[in-house]
């Protein structure tokens, strides 16, 4: 537990320093996107990593937060309300999706999440009060009450706070009944049932928390981008981006999502522009190739591979996976 706390502390200090010290919008924007995607990756990791049911509809929980924020602001309410409101709707959506499918074999859940995400997208697209296909443009304001700032610093701080909370929650998860039960369910289904673990109940709890985290990230996204529409918040491509971050980083690990987010942001921002600018799709080729290589040769992802190496070198198991 100790090394993780130190690592998290270091990241918090580093990012906070950047948030106050730096004024270069590009770096701060990169940092904000990185932290946001790390949160989304970890939220996805709770259900797809720790619980082992792979979700391909995670964007709908992200959208709950984003649309909650857009609705609050366009109806003159404070965007801070969007955190509880979005979380509630997201958790409800998770229960509705998870209840019938979480006890079933993997593929059913994955395809069910795609189906529910598609239903949510059609629902939003055909509901004028949810902005239909046009989505919402949030009016410009500023200050902590309006949760909107002209400078990037405060946004990075908020994303950093959310990231710290999510990482601490995951550290708690790994040393909690929920965490033990999820690991037991993934390790050996029959043995888990024999010690009284109700698979559906505990996976639903993990799924609901996962949805709440994604929703919180959605609120920050909306307040940062000031524009929310189906393709940028609900589309299947967003769910896949979130999932691939979790996989590349290392599924079921504490630091996997952060590593995955780093790779994604560096690739999406850096490499893509240099070689992607010709409209030739090289960015897709590179990203696709990386995912294939990881899935085939290093399925535990970046952090997972490091953990395996550490574990082998140290012989017996460390207390819990990093």
């Amino acid at each position: 537990m100790r090394p993780h706390l130190i690592a998290l502390g270091a990241i918090v200090v580093l990012c906070a320093a950047a948030a106050f010290g730096l004024h270069d919008t590009v770096t701060l924007d990169l940092l904000f996107t990185l932290l946001l995607y790390a949160v989304l990756g970890q939220s996805w990791n709770w259900i797809s990593g720790y619980a082992g049911n792979i979700s391909f509809g995670h964007a709908i929980f992200f959208a709950c937060g984003a649309y909650a924020s857009a609705l609050c602001v366009t109806h003159g309410l404070s965007p801070w309300l969007a955190f509880p409101a979005g979380a509630l709707v997201a958790a409800l959506l998770a229960v509705v999706t998870g209840f019938p499918t979480l006890a079933l074999r993997g593929h059913y859940f994955s395809i069910a999440t795609i189906a529910v995400a598609a239903l949510v997208e059609v629902f939003v697209r055909t509901s004028p009060w949810l902005g239909g296909a046009n989505g919402f443009e949030l009016p410009i304001a500023s200050g902590w009450a309006a949760l909107q700032f002209s400078q990037k610093g405060p946004y990075v701080l908020l994303a950093l706070a959310l990231f710290a909370i999510v990482q601490l929650a995951t550290m708690w998860l790994e040393r909690s009944r929920l965490g033990y039960y999820l690991r037991a369910l993934r390790a050996n289904h029959a043995a888990a049932a024999s010690v009284g673990i109700d698979e559906r109940r505990w996976k639903l709890i993990a799924f609901a928390w996962s949805a709440v985290m994604a929703s919180a990230a959605g609120v920050l996204y909306a307040q940062y981008t000031l524009f929310v529409d189906p393709p940028s918040t609900i589309a299947l491509a967003i769910s896949i981006d979130i999932a691939l971050i979790g996989v590349v980083g290392g599924i079921g690990t504490l630091w996997g999502p952060a590593a995955g987010a780093l790779v994604y942001v560096v690739l999406a921002k850096g490499v893509a522009l240099q070689i992607g600018g010709t409209g030739k799709g090289y960015d897709l080729v590179i990203y696709g190739a990386i995912i294939c290589i990881i899935a085939a040769w290093r399925p535990h992802g970046i952090v997972g591979t490091i953990v395996d190496a550490l574990r082998r070198r140290r012989g017996t198991a460390t207390a819990t996976p990093a």
Binding site: T25, V122, A133, G135, S150, T225, P231, G276
Partner: protein, 423 residues
Amino acid sequence: MYARRLVASLAALAVAVTAGAVPIRAADAPEVVIGAVLPLTGTLSQTGAGLRTAMLLAQDLVNGHVSYPLPMVGKSGLPHLGHARIRLVFADSQGKPDQARAAAEQLITQDHAVALIGTYASSTTATASQAAERAGIPFLNPDSSAPNLTARGLKWFFRTTPNDATFAENFYQFLGDLKRTKNITVKRVAVVGEDGLFGTGAGDAEEAGAKKYGYDIATRVSYPATTTEVNAEVQRVKTSSPDVIFQASYVPDALLFVRGYKQQGVNVKAIFAQDAGFVDPNFLKAIGADAEGVFTREVFSMDIKFRNQAVPLVDQLFRQRSDGAKPLDGNTARDFMGVLVLADAIDRAGSTKPDAIRDALTKTNIPGKLTLMPWNRIHFDATGQNDGGVGIIEQLQDGKYETVWPFDVAVRPVVWPMPAWKR
């Protein structure tokens, strides 16, 4: 055909000679940086690459000394700024709203752009223009058609292209002209469109226009753009028996619909397309004669009467630079013009201060014939919308889109109604 090209190149030569000696540039005249936000990666990357080529062409013509009858071309940079060169710096929006905002901020803070231009997709223009508004930097939008972009009360936002509302308006004006001149009456209108921003924006404008001009909406059909069959949609249109169909589709769905209409014998007097799928060369190749007689709104055409004779020259230069020697089209022509309008404003402002440029933009008044477009003029109203911008209507006649409206610039007479489906 050969003769026309010969004449065109002679004209260019003549113009070049009369431009006089090349003016010397003030040695240390700093460059004027203009930030351009375009979708360079992602699904729209191919369109983005074409737009970038068009903008760079405009930049080089402004900085060059070969003059054409276009604003700011051939004056070796900006005369009122010591012939300083304009330099376009590009940032990638990836076609995503959050990335577009970040790209705009990067151009403003890091590249110190004096003005921004872009971004093609309406959702990315929304966020990028917000970033410019917050930073107090003029934002020129040459190519997004969502009507609400100029309804946000932004001070620093200017749009040269007509929007969906104007295009819908044009269709109804065209129908009005047909009624007056050829006593053609149309009563029932079907509005069909994909369910994204493009289809919904166009559909809403067409529906509003119908109410305004007194037409009945036979049916409104919205469908998922990635659908692989359109049985229900075509039946909906058929059973509503419309006189005319408005259609906003991309290539795959446009093919499905036209073949579906033919197969189900949906006989209408006209199909009015919102550009996109219907003007794509691949669509025309695949659909063959079945699309004969389809109308489309357009913002640019190579062969409208009284056109600016710079059009073929710019088209020629563009073909040489564009990937696959693609011709100039509505999007690239509009972005080309956008750069010239911005250069003109900065030059008139005589300074790179945002307020000065903004003030100059509000006074922009470029006559139509000095543009590549079939517009009356380029002049921004209080909301920043170019009120001189008007679409033209073309009709597919023996496999080629010919301008048929406004009648004073039309190259071919209107064929009405559309020829019946061939067996």
